[in-house]
């Protein structure tokens, strides 16, 4: 009885390999097998830090929170004063930079909304959202 079960399981395992391999081939350009590349727009603190001077950090939180504390060197860009803050951000930007946007935590939406506007309105490339936000950055300080 046991051998029947094992045989069945092996057949199923082998069957699933077929579409699995097919998908791996189909998606081969979308994912790196060697290292975690940002899935869509999210990156981790570690990944962002690895970019060093190539990264430009953006704080999407309200002014008071930015004033209290922020990632050293980060620029404030929030939707309350978008029109006023955007030109300052663009002055610091250049095409090869990677933009890392954060708000207070994983669950806040401000960073995603700022990312959306930078991508769609200003049409900038390399726009990323920091996974875990300010909370996560503090944890890895």
């Amino acid at each position: 009885m046991k051998s029947l079960l094992v045989r069945q399981a092996l057949i199923l395992a082998a069957l699933a390999l077929v579409p699995g391999l097919g998908q791996a081939v189909y998606f081969r350009n979308r994912v790196s097998w060697r290292s975690p590349i940002p899935a869509s727009e999210m990156i981790t603190v570690t990944q962002a830090r690895a970019w060093g001077g190539n990264a430009i950090w953006v704080d999407a939180r309200p002014d008071e929170e930015f004033a209290r504390d922020h990632v050293p060197g980060a620029l404030s860009l929030n939707e309350d004063r978008w029109n006023e803050l955007l030109p300052q951000f663009l002055a610091a930007w250049s095409p090869e930079k990677k933009i890392v946007i954060y708000c207070s935590s994983q669950s806040c939406n401000a960073s995603r909304e700022v990312a959306h506007r930078l991508r769609n309105e200003a049409q900038l490339p390399n726009v990323f959202v920091l996974k875990g936000g300010w909370e996560e950055w503090l944890r890895n300080r």
């Binding site: 009885m1 029947l4 079960l5 094992v6 045989r7 069945q8 399981a9 092996l10 057949i11 199923l12 395992a13 069957l15 699933a16 390999l17 077929v18 579409p19 699995g20 391999l21 998908q23 791996a24 998606f27 979308r30 994912v31 097998w33 060697r34 290292s35 975690p36 899935a39 869509s40 999210m42 994983q106 875990g132």
Partner: protein, 143 residues
């Protein structure tokens, strides 16, 4: 009547696994990241599993519905759920903040107890099916 009820359990569990598999098939890159979040497996293996596991879930779910390779499918599903429950508890104990990934990003907003509860129910379901159909090893097709 009893047979009908077990058949129903079959179908419910099969549908859950097929759905879970299908959601992950649609975004394997996201699933690879979700696996990586548990920090148990190296990235490369995680990517491999991300492409493979969802299909395994779908095929096992189909096996349950069509009663083909039935016991093999049940044992695979039992192993999958058990491993997943252990991984989830391990992550929680280590303080990792995880968005499950088992139902793809649709379950993003669920909380830990809800997830764990559903998985324990699934585990109970597959184990029960295993025992219920154990007595009739030949009853693999039909009925």
């Amino acid at each position: 009547m009893k047979k009908f009820l077990w058949r129903l359990v079959d179908l419910v569990i099969a549908v859950i696994f097929i759905y879970a598999g299908a959601v992950k098939v649609l975004d394997p890159v996201q699933f690879a990241n979700d696996i990586d979040n548990y920090k148990i497996l190296p990235w490369t293996i995680g990517v491999g599993l991300a492409f493979y596991l969802p299909w395994l879930e779908i095929f096992c779910g189909l096996a349950l519905i069509f009663r083909l390779l039935y016991r093999g499918a049940l044992s695979i599903l039992t192993a999958l759920v058990a491993i997943f429950i252990i991984a989830t508890i391990a992550a929680k104990v280590r303080g990792l903040d995880i968005t499950c990934g088992c139902f793809g990003h649709v379950s993003q907003d669920w909380n830990f107890p809800a997830h764990l509860a559903l998985d324990l129910v699934l585990l109970a379901g597959v184990i029960l099916l295993f025992h219920a159909t154990g007595a009739k090893p030949r009853d693999l097709k039909g009925a």
